[in-house]
Symmetry: C2
Subunit: 439 residues, 2 copies
């Protein structure tokens, strides 16, 4: 066959450089790659295609890119909310992680997380956790694309009872996955500047720098963190990371809420990337990251949901909606973070932030076929004057009908093809019931 898959009869929001929107769009896919992107009469279908997908007038757009997840934390969704951060972490999250996050449960929670993401239109994620080997395995089974970072922290953690093994464990994970799959990229995820020593940070960065891989780190998430670093090192977390030679174009700074003008210039100078997680920052009362300032300074910013214990879902459509609104009210300016900018953050900028911009994040000839179709035949999505507006302000992940990753149809008519979703739901419900009983 000339093509493996053809998608037709929808409006393509390409998210290419010109942000072209193509009515009556037609996409031809071969060997997982986008071969052509064009406009054609809605009933025209080129001959020689194995699979033809009718978008039925819906929106065709790049699969979304979630730049910050802790997939296994789906298992802790809603177990504790509305608490002071210290109680939330020390009375619930940390003890539960220590008790339950063995490789088997990490795998189960990650399968659930991948299913949730794929069903809601996310085709690429950037994850950081412990026992990340089990996360990467689950992701591989699900068919999602992603960057997976083995966690590094200077305390005992799931799978690393002795913290002095943390770098070794990360290096082993990176070696194993570096060439294992075209969809799975390894990475190292240092928890934060206040939970890792300078030596640990430097060693961890060296593991990724030597292999040109992504280095992830929570940075300047809370005022408390800012104050701790400032009091210990005399400078802000961002300046401390710069002084420790951690910042370069392969460093992803997650959150970056408590940053000043100089920090922003430093991040920009090193071309480090930022993952913006507005809902998690709101729910944990951390603060509002100065994203419009990041963008003015040319910094690449992607969007992330964070883990399910602090959001409490993985729906990037909801995240886009909130990202567009929170900065408007924060700056008393309804023109900032317009829908186009937010879509770019959830797609191409996110891909760029995690080092995958040449592969995913837009619908363009030669790129991987990571594509989603939004069913717009619902009361909350009509009339449609502008698909860009609907993507950000009206749609949710539940409106996603079909999901394709690297040319593979992973979700069809809202049903998961790659995983046995009933089995996952059963097992998660059983584990959840056990955890609830032991709370």
């Amino acid at each position: 066959m000339k093509y493996d898959t053809i998608i037709h009869n929808g409006t393509i929001v390409t998210v290419n450089r010109d942000f072209d929107i193509i009515n009556n769009g037609l996409i031809c896919i071969k060997n997982g790659i986008i071969e052509t992107v064009s406009s054609a009469p809605s009933d025209y279908i080129p001959s020689g295609a194995a699979v033809i997908i009718d978008a039925k007038g819906g929106i065709i757009m790049p699969g979304l890119v979630n730049t910050h997840t802790h997939l296994p934390m789906t298992l802790l969704r809603g177990i504790a909310d509305d608490l002071p951060l210290f109680d939330w972490l020390n009375r619930y999250i940390f003890p539960l992680e220590a008790k339950y996050m063995n490789p088997g449960n990490v795998r189960l929670g990650s399968l659930l997380g991948c299913a949730e993401m794929l069903l809601s239109g996310t085709t690429t994620c950037c994850d950081g956790y412990f026992n990340e080997e089990a996360v990467a395995q689950a992701a591989f089974e699900s068919g999602i694309r992603g960057v997976f970072g083995q966690g590094v922290i200077d305390f005992p953690a799931p799978g690393i009872p002795d913290p002095s093994d943390n770098i070794k464990t990360a290096a082993r994970f990176v070696d194993k996955w570096q060439n294992a799959s075209s969809l799975i990229r390894p990475s190292v995820f240092c928890h934060s500047p206040y939970t890792c020593s300078e030596e640990t940070l430097k060693k961890a960065k060296q593991v990724t720098r030597s292999k040109n891989l992504l280095f992830q780190i929570h940075t300047s998430e809370t005022k408390n963190e800012f104050d701790m670093i400032k009091s210990k090192h005399g400078i802000s977390p961002v300046k401390y990371l710069e002084r420790s030679d951690i910042l370069d174009e392969k460093t992803l700074l997650v959150h970056s809420v408590w940053v000043d003008e100089e920090d922003i210039r430093i991040i920009s100078k090193h071309d480090s990337k930022i993952s913006h997680n507005p809902q998690s920052n709101m729910k944990l009362a951390s603060g509002i990251a100065p994203v419009p300032e990041f963008l003015k300074n040319g910094i690449t910013v992607g969007l992330g949901t964070d883990g399910c214990a602090s959001n409490n879902d993985s729906d990037l459509f909801k995240e886009m909606d909130v990202a567009a609104k929170i900065h408007k009210v924060n700056l008393f300016d309804p023109t900032v973070m317009d829908a186009k900018t937010v879509i770019q953050m959830a797609t191409i900028r996110g891909a760029e932030a995690i080092g995958l911009k040449d592969e995913t994040g837009s619908i363009e000839k030669g790129k991987q076929a990571d594509i989603i179709i939004i069913d717009t035949d619902s009361p909350h999505l009509i009339p449609m004057y502008n698909p860009v507006s609907h993507i950000v302000y009206s749609a949710t992940g539940s409106d996603v009908r079909d999901v394709i990753v690297a040319g593979e149809i992973i979700v069809k008519n809202k049903k998961m093809l790659s995983l046995d979703i009933e089995d996952i739901i059963d097992k998660v419900n059983q584990l959840g019931a056990r955890i609830k009983k032991e709370l």
Copy 2:
């Protein structure tokens, strides 16, 4: 039959005074009224019921109450976003309303709005618009419960070319609907203190006060409005409304963003109610209403989505999520606006705010059977440690499976029974295409 409808096999979040949560819940309904609320084995079904609804382990809760809508504005969903408020209103919204909001289109947009609300779990709304007669008719056809306010403004408006007719028109609307239907309550909606003269405000309030009906008014939404009233009258909008004798327990102040401590004491003293619309206030960059302060002062606050041009949907689940998060980050306190408080705002407090607390807003013996069932058998809603958390932080309107208003099943298995949804979608799409062409 002993009962018209029985609902069983789900977790009931009653939202009664004690916020009781009932596992293995059983609800028996007769003549539109809740006869019993109890716990029973999931396979136990009392004999003598015409219709039996199996909640299949999902969440059973009161239908949501949307305390501020402009239903016909569904027709303008996404037509203009991310603009300065003045341009948005004067270049888009006002001219489009003048051109298109005739009774036929108002009816069509309202049918769409009612369908969208019902499908996403809202069983009661409080609307304000022009040509409200057509809104009320559409609502009546849909089977939703609500309070409907004929708009009053001292400018020419749809259906009222001569503003000197505005009070007369409102009085006529109120008379017509006062005893027409148990589901439809008439009201008057004065646009705002800056678009209505003091004389208009007083006359409009008199229309509702004489009949003990709800009076709705946008109040202190933007800093600009606050400054205008302050410069014209020397006092804040709330103090101006108090001085004009507009405030009492039947006055619903919509937005109330720009209020000071004294304003809050005044609102509390008169037992006036507040409709909180966080997403609209964020998108239009109006500000963040001091809701936790309202609650501390004992003020009744309901939740609202506002019109679809400034949100851009009518999903109260998304509104709950944002309402819970925005105040946490605004006050740097993750404990404010907990999930329980937000659910109360979206149900019983909303009902109280619009004068319907004896009828709806909770699942209790003797109340109207306004009930929704949430399908929790989805990846983003498992595991379920706490249904209260999931309602606010993880569910969206798309998870609502069944909707009952006054004992009538309006939505069954996510399908609308009361309206011809395909026909509405067709007609809205046709009108939208015409409006788009003429933009």
